[in-house]
């Protein structure tokens, strides 16, 4: 004899307890929207969402969306309450989708309230979120490649920093000394960054696979090495000769047709080549990991290297290849910061993005698209934080800066649940 809760839970494929908690959360969010936001707005206020990006854009022009703040807030609160009630009474089949929807409503309500009587650029917010997530996603992808074959790569930060430095230096050398055309110089800088990342990846692999050094220590050593060397060379070379720190930036280019779609177009299809490279890389890595022989072997080595070895898979070679590839992807992340964003190298410019990428990897359950999704959430929280500060929401800046991390904790504890790493993660393999 199953209880009502168990039936509701079973419908959404979750436990009875979780089903009930979700229902209560949805109701709570509705109540919060009412208490925090709706009560702060008055009937004559309107919120304007700008739907065209600033600057030049191929997107079809869309008029600004102006909505009455109070009505919209009441509407959002009611929808949340309704969703909560439905969950408690009947239960959703796709309860995580409902949770996502409620979360989106809460954020929208927040924005509607914060921008009451003013306007805010919604397309700009989404574009900013995507761009902020790119380096994090690349770092996460680098982590996925390494940890799927059971090598913990804590050196992503250092690899990114080195990649950034090399991209700036070599790109500048090509552009300003050899006087190559800018596209060639940029590609040369990019290739050099990939090579630098690959070399550091190889170094980590040699330490971890050949010499079986503790992987955390090896990774930390590489990070410290990278900080020291790039800071030293930057002070001695880039500071002295400014033309060596001016490689240029990959130009944005619009993908025909797709970029014309309102809102989505400018966000996803009017970026520079490195952003598209991330999209391609995500798809390729996913397909490779889960639908090819290489991927199957990689995962086997990560889960049970002894079994893989017994079946004739070369564990060492697999790890060498994957960690080197992971280093290249981290190098690409560093190159993005320079060639895809600011066009110059500055000391410590990665500022912890490599480590956040590692968190994104865990958050995304060691899956390429999972890591990307997690990076998007971090990026969005960061972009939202900036937007709220510009809108002068009365919250202290220190609290706003915590937002990305708060979001992580909530989502980790609430939605993702237990994340299981590859079984052999971090263990050196000893051939018997």
């Amino acid at each position: 004899m199953s209880t009502v809760w168990e039936r509701i839970g079973a419908r959404g494929d979750v436990s009875a307890r979780r089903a009930r908690t979700y229902g209560l959360i949805f109701l709570g969010v509705g109540l919060l929207i009412f208490l925090l936001f709706a009560r702060g707005a008055t009937a004559d206020q309107a919120t304007t969402f700008v739907l065209t990006p600033s600057g030049e854009s191929q997107a079809l022009p869309v008029p600004d969306l102006s909505v009455p703040s109070l009505t919209v807030l009441y509407g959002f609160a009611l929808v949340c309450v309704f969703v909560g009630g439905w969950q408690l009474a009947r239960g959703f089949r796709r309860v995580n989708l409902a949770l996502g929807g409620v979360a989106v409503l809460f954020v929208l309500a927040f924005l509607t309230w914060a921008a009451r009587d003013r306007s805010m650029n919604l397309t700009g917010l989404l574009s900013s979120a995507l761009l902020r997530s790119v380096p994090i996603a690349l770092a996460g992808l680098s982590g996925v490649l390494c940890e799927r074959c059971a090598v913990i790569n804590i050196a992503i930060e250092g690899m990114m920093l080195t990649g950034a430095f090399i991209a700036a230096l070599m790109g500048s050398v090509a552009a300003n000394i050899w006087e190559w055309p800018s596209w060639a110089a940029l590609l040369f800088g990019l290739a050099s960054a990939l090579a630098a990342g690959a070399l550091l990846g190889l170094l980590l692999a040699v330490l971890a696979v050949r010499f079986k050094v503790d992987q955390i220590i090896a990774g930390t050593a590489i990070n410290i090495l990278a900080v020291g060397i790039t800071s030293f060379l930057s002070a001695r070379i880039l500071a002295e000769f400014q033309y060596l720190n001016n490689p240029g930036i990959f130009p944005r280019f619009s993908i025909p047709l797709l970029s014309k779609i309102p809102i989505i177009g400018p966000v996803f299809f009017e970026q520079n080549g490195l952003v598209y490279a991330l999209f391609v890389l995500l798809i390729v890595t996913h397909v490779m990991l889960f639908y090819t022989r290489w991927g199957l072997r990689t995962r086997a080595v990560g889960e049970h290297p002894r079994a893989a070895d017994t079946l004739g898979i070369n564990v060492f070679r697999t790890r060498y290849i994957n960690v080197t590839l992971g280093g290249m992807v981290a190098g690409l992340g560093g190159a993005f910061l320079v060639l895809g964003s600011v066009g110059r190298f500055d000391e410590l410019m990665t500022a912890g993005k490599g480590f956040i990428g590692l968190a994104a990897m865990i958050f995304g359950k060691w899956m390429p698209f999972g890591a990307f999704g997690a990076a998007l959430i971090f990026g969005f929280a960061d972009a939202l934080q900036t937007k709220l500060a510009i809108l002068e929401v009365p919250i202290a800046s220190q609290f706003l800066l915590m937002a990305p991390y708060l979001v992580t904790m909530v989502v980790l504890a609430g939605v993702v649940g237990e994340a299981v790493p590859p079984a052999a993660d971090g263990q050196p393999y000893e051939k018997q």
Binding site: L131, V213, V227, D346, A383, T386, S397
Partner: protein, 336 residues
């Protein structure tokens, strides 16, 4: 395994040495050491300007100078200790965040002279000279100028971390804009008074903050975040019609590649202050207390308009002259 652990540790030590590079001290010369804040010696901002002051002291006074870079906040004490242990006569620490560590070491080493940029002690410590700057006065001028030059009616600013030496720029800037509104009956808005990126390193964050401000309509942006502002410069370069206001040094000179978008810079002449502090120590006239750089003593100011010189109306230039005088006289309040 052990062998490789040792090798790894060796690598770490090597890396640290590379980053530090303290020259060996020689006994006779007056030795002055500088401890940077995070952000590096080449931040085109306060570390770089202070170091320039050290170099001036080397050239003009024959002082032996060296610097230690702080890679993180825990390095402050470590770096100060290094200079103290090597018997440096004077230690210059750069940045508000080093305030506590500097005070601790100054009290433990009464023989060594200290100067700290952007910090003042109350009550003063005998062997520490705090070098502070009334940057609000210069930022006020920049704000007035920005309000007079904006096409969109919105100007923007943001900070690195919410600490007084950063917010003083922003508050002065806003007060300048408001003063312009009062004088001209305009309605220019300042965006980003609450916006802080949370660090002084990530140039990418600077670019994003700049893009977000531009997306909300700002066309003149003053980033108060050291090298992070150079990321904003990259964003401004890609948005025609937008301009930048540099901080600390004249960005048209220190970051030439962005000169075509730099309207002006809010100058904080830390190099002169650092040089003078060392000179006093060399001459034996050093006293603990506080130095304040102002418009009146040329400790702060705004840079020439360089490529925008023809775009700034003569009338606006004359008004800026008047306001400068008003601030020096104390008839205009900068809001700090």
């Amino acid at each position: 395994m052990r062998k490789w652990l040792i090798a790894t540790v060796g690598l770490m030590v090597l890396a640290t040495l590379l980053a530090a590079c303290v020259p060996k001290p020689t006994p006779e010369a007056f030795k002055a050491g500088m401890v940077t804040d995070v952000g590096g010696i080449d931040d085109k901002s306060f570390n770089a300007t202070s170091w320039h002051g050290m170099e001036l002291a080397e050239e003009e006074l024959g002082v032996e100078v060296a610097y230690l870079e702080s890679q993180q906040q825990t390095d402050y004490a470590v770096n100060i200790t290094q200079f103290v242990d090597q018997g440096y006569d004077m230690i210059v620490t750069v940045g508000f965040l080093l305030g506590e560590d500097t005070a601790t070491f100054a009290q433990q080493n009464p023989e060594t002279k200290f100067a700290i940029v952007d910090f003042a002690y109350d009550p003063p410590i005998e062997n520490v000279l705090g070098l502070t700057f009334a940057t609000d006065e210069a930022a006020f001028l920049a704000g007035y100028l920005a309000a007079g030059m904006t096409q969109t009616g919105k100007v923007g600013t943001f900070g690195g971390i919410e600490i007084p030496p950063v917010t003083i720029f922003m508050v002065g800037f806003q007060a300048g804009v408001e003063y312009y509104n009062e004088q001209h009956g305009t309605d220019v808005e300042v965006l980003g008074m609450d916006l802080f990126v949370g660090n002084f390193e990530s140039t990418d964050d600077g670019r994003r903050a700049g893009e977000d401000l531009i997306a909300e309509g700002a066309d003149i942006i003053m980033p108060v975040a050291g090298p992070v502002g150079l990321g904003t410069a990259a964003a401004v370069m890609e948005h025609p019609g937008t301009m930048l206001i540099g901080v600390d040094t004249d960005w048209c000179i220190s970051a030439e590649e962005y000169c075509s978008v730099t309207l002006t810079s809010v100058l904080k002449n830390m190099d002169v202050a650092v040089r003078d502090a060392i000179a006093m120590a060399v001459e034996g006239t050093f006293e603990g207390g506080t130095y304040v750089g102002t418009l009146a003593n040329n400790g702060v100011g705004i840079a020439p308009f360089h490529e925008f010189d023809d775009d700034v109306p003569a009338e606006l230039k004359a008004e800026l002259e008047e306001i400068t005088q008003g601030i020096i006289d104390g008839t205009i309040d900068t809001g700090w």
